[in-house]
């Protein structure tokens, strides 16, 4: 079975500062993808960034980047130059490539950007 753990239930960051959200996962699979999703108070989940496990290079999307440590089964999200619109719940998700491609989600981190 796959499990995803987000150990930071709540975090806050000053506007324009940098924050890192943690995620660890447990799996015996070798081929999988990892994702970070954002769920603002309006509740629609939005994809932030994804990482293929076979890629050694860390994914980046504008102000968002990840630190993927496959051996440690760690997948953290760094948000640079935080903006008020980044305030949301952030979910880490794991997907194995074999089978149903279902997502396994963590319990989420509530991020508040303080003006």
């Amino acid at each position: 079975a796959q499990t995803v753990t987000q150990s930071q239930p709540e975090m806050s960051v000053q506007e324009a500062e940098t924050v890192t959200l943690s995620c660890t996962y447990d799996t015996s699979e070798n081929n999988y993808y990892l994702f970070w999703y954002k769920q603002p108070p309006s509740r629609q989940m939005i994809l932030v960034i994804r990482q293929e496990a076979y890629k050694q290079q860390n994914a980046t999307e504008n102000r968002f980047s990840v630190n993927f440590q496959k051996a440690a089964k760690s997948f953290s999200l760094k948000i640079s130059d935080s903006q008020l619109g980044d305030t949301a719940m952030y979910f880490c998700a794991f997907m194995k490539l074999l089978g149903s491609n279902q997502f396994y989600f963590g319990t989420g981190t509530s991020l508040t950007v303080i003006p």
Binding site: Y37, M45, R50, F91, L97, S100, N101, T107, G108
Partner: protein, 111 residues
């Protein structure tokens, strides 16, 4: 292009009743997934359908069922509702790149 649509937005039902939730995926996507998100938790996988066939099922009782239609839209059905079924039900449209695009959800309240 329209995104993922779900209906209804909100629903209030009584224990023991039946409910049907609907989802239309992004045009061109042939697969949908259903998730249940209880307040304060991450989404939990219920079903995935691809080309009208069930591709995966999560750890939910047989009261939960789903189907996918020829136009790739999908329905989630829940029978004999329990208070614990109160949650946000999310539908995701699955792209060829494995990314899942979520709809706004249906908020189900069981009283």
């Amino acid at each position: 292009d329209a995104g993922v649509t779900q209906s209804p937005t909100h629903l209030i039902k009584t224990r023991g009743q039946h409910v049907t939730l609907r989802c239309s995926p992004i045009s061109g996507h042939k697969s949908v997934s259903w998730y249940q998100q209880v307040l304060g938790q991450g989404p939990q996988f219920i079903f995935q359908y691809y080309e009208k066939e069930e591709r995966g099922r999560g750890n939910f009782p047989d009261r939960f069922s789903a189907r996918q239609f020829p136009n790739y839209s999908s329905e989630l059905n829940v029978n004999a509702l329990l208070l614990g079924d109160s949650a946000l039900y999310l539908c995701a449209s699955v792209g060829a790149d494995y990314e899942q695009y979520f709809g706004p959800g249906t908020r189900l309240t069981v009283t």
